[in-house]
């Protein structure tokens, strides 16, 4: 059964009066529990596809196509339902970490839970949540960095915090946009190990965007994007193909 079904997805951006088509009819099935790598050069539309998958953006109104999670179409959701969807179903990891610089490692990790549960819910479960956050950070090798601010961490450590933050609500889908793009090869490889560890026994679905074939090879399955289209689908996963 497909966890995520993408059909004929179109997305066009306007640059002034010029319309730039970024996705030109992407169709893709992602199975539940699969680690999918979307490989492509810069400008191929892979990040846009990821944003659409996460409900951060909407496809074109007329010819946009659809994204469905277990048969539930994202396009049919209202704005507040999309917020709810992001809170409950997906976790994002970005290339540039996107941590809040004023918050500590632990607070950054808990941010998603605070947003999901609201004040009362968070206060009710705060002890449990803090414990979960600490466990996630422990798995990421950051248990000694809980009170540090992002500026005091290395790039790899920041990205591990971002992964912990993405997983604090235990979402079934993790969306990662060039998670190793800002790291050296060794640190990138270590981070992918963390991905593997964090993926855990639940085998959550991971959709990872990358331009690096070596990184993509860690996924179960690789698809390649170019010019707003899926070029090869499916491509056998590197290590696990």
């Amino acid at each position: 059964m497909s966890a995520i079904k993408v059909e004929n997805l179109h997305k066009t951006y306007k640059l002034g009066k010029v319309e730039v088509p970024v996705l030109r009819g992407v169709s893709l099935d992602i199975e539940s529990g699969q680690w999918l790598a979307i490989l492509g050069a810069s400008g191929s539309g892979k990040s846009t596809l990821l944003h659409l998958l996460g409900g951060l953006d909407r496809p074109d109104a007329k010819t946009g196509g659809s994204i469905a999670y277990d048969g539930r179409k994202l396009g049919a959701l209202s704005a507040s339902e999309r917020n709810q969807f992001r809170r409950d179903h997906v976790g994002f990891v970005f290339q540039f970490y996107h941590l809040v610089p004023e918050l500590t490692v632990l607070e950054n990790t808990l941010l998603g839970a605070m947003i999901r549960l609201g004040r009362l819910g968070y206060m009710r479960d705060s002890t449990k949540l803090r414990e979960s956050a600490k466990q996630l950070l422990d798995k990421a090798g950051l248990s000694h960095r809980l009170a540090h601010k992002p500026a005091q961490l290395s790039g790899g450590e920041r990205q591990r915090v971002a992964i912990a933050r993405a997983l604090i609500n235990d979402p079934p889908v993790l969306l990662a946009d060039e998670p190793t793009g800002n790291l050296d090869q060794k640190t990138g490889a270590e981070l992918l190990d963390v991905f593997e560890t964090m993926r855990g026994k639940t085998k959550r679905t991971i959709v990872m965007v990358t331009h690096d074939p070596n990184v993509a090879s860690r996924a179960d399955r690789v698809v390649e994007m170019a010019d707003g289209l899926i070029r090869k689908s499916p491509v056998g996963g590197g290590a696990r193909a």
Partner: protein
Amino acid sequence: MFQSLLTRRYLTSKVMPLLASAAVMLSVAMELITWSVMGGFLEQLIQSGRTLMGDVEISRPQRGFGDYEKLIEMLEADEWIEAATPTIDAYGLVKLNAQQVTTCRIKGIDPESFDRVTGYYDTLYWKPIDTPLPRDKDREDPRLDPERRDTFEMTDRLGRNLYGLDIGTNSDRDQAVLGIEVFGKRGLRAEAGFVTDFPVFLPGLDVTLNVLPIDMSGGFLEPVARKLQIANEFSSNIFEIDSQTIYVPLPVLQNMLKMDRAERVDPGAPVEFIFDDQGNPIGRKMPEAIGVTPAKVTSVLVRAVGDHVPLEDLRERVAQIYERFEQQSAEAPPLGALDILTWEDRNSTLIGAIKKETGLVLFIFGIISLTSVFLVLAIFWSMISERTKDIGILRALGASGPGVAWLWVRYGLAIGVVGSLLGGVLAYVVITNINAIHEWMGSALGISIWDPQVYYFARIPEDFNATKAIIIVSAGIVSCGLGALIPAWRAARMDPVKALRFE
């Protein structure tokens, strides 16, 4: 939840919110100081005036009216009236020595009843005190000196009686009480307009009063001079009064102005001479008296019972009593020939002007304070641009548009709370030390803003009003919330994808 965490962290992490808080603080402090000083000034003016002049005044300037004892008896019999006192107001020249001559308002009073109406005894300056004034941290006030206690007890007693021991001749004589600022201009007041804390001790010196009496037809008679000893000085805290008023015993001024009790003669009676033994005329016989002209006063001041009798009602009541008095006394001028006015009526032009001035100043500062709204708006606009990526992160984590907007409104309110409370504290410190600050500005920078000759009071009002503080502080907080609304709306509408890509 994330809003409160981020608000706390944003507040303490950057210079921008500190600048915004400082702007709000200064704005709130400025409003509150202005309102407190101007409002305090107006309140002090009304209260002081009421204290010094009673609630209602019956007056007939220059010519005066007689039989006032009966009028006062009738007034004091009324349940609304606490006390009434006769006074005479005249202008004259006052000479302390060859160099110090000034024009003054000379007021003839009956000290005992004048005190019941105006609290006169409390205004006497030279009397022993046990605790120093709040500003007198070094206890330099001579009135605290136990060795001079006897002297100050004597000056207090002389001031209360306006009659007593002449230090030079060791005999009793009439005394005068000067406003503390009457001769202050000669050096007690510095050029920059500041009042020295402890004026020069004048009691015991002589002062010469010169007045110009008028006759029944309003013509001028020969000037009359009289030397009195200075018994004490008084301080009402109203510069205008303290610098221009001298109290003397009522009978003394009545005598000088020819307003005392006199026998009336027929001006058309034939002249009869007195001859010596040789039959030479040596004088003129006084014509036979055909009646008595009673002593006169120019005003009767009336004090209401308590503070709850409306002034307008009291004025009506006094007018009714006067009408009864007019029917009973042959010496009473008709009601239309007198003025019966409340203190506020008499000073309505001044009070109205000050009220308008206070309103105008507040309005202007209110407009200026609106800049704090725009300041917060501008700062938040810039902060939201700086925090675009954070907004993208929050949206990616599932925060709603209104949730993000509330973060910024809450942040604005937090800046408002911090800035406004600090502004309130700053205003409190400034207001309660405003005279010390003003004097420091004068001595260190040569700047004098509060000129007592313009503002009537020697000292700037130091009243910190809690109600005004609550209003201004609340307005400051609300202003910041309003200033944050538009940037918050912008943040809420921000495209999360663009926000995440923002560099």
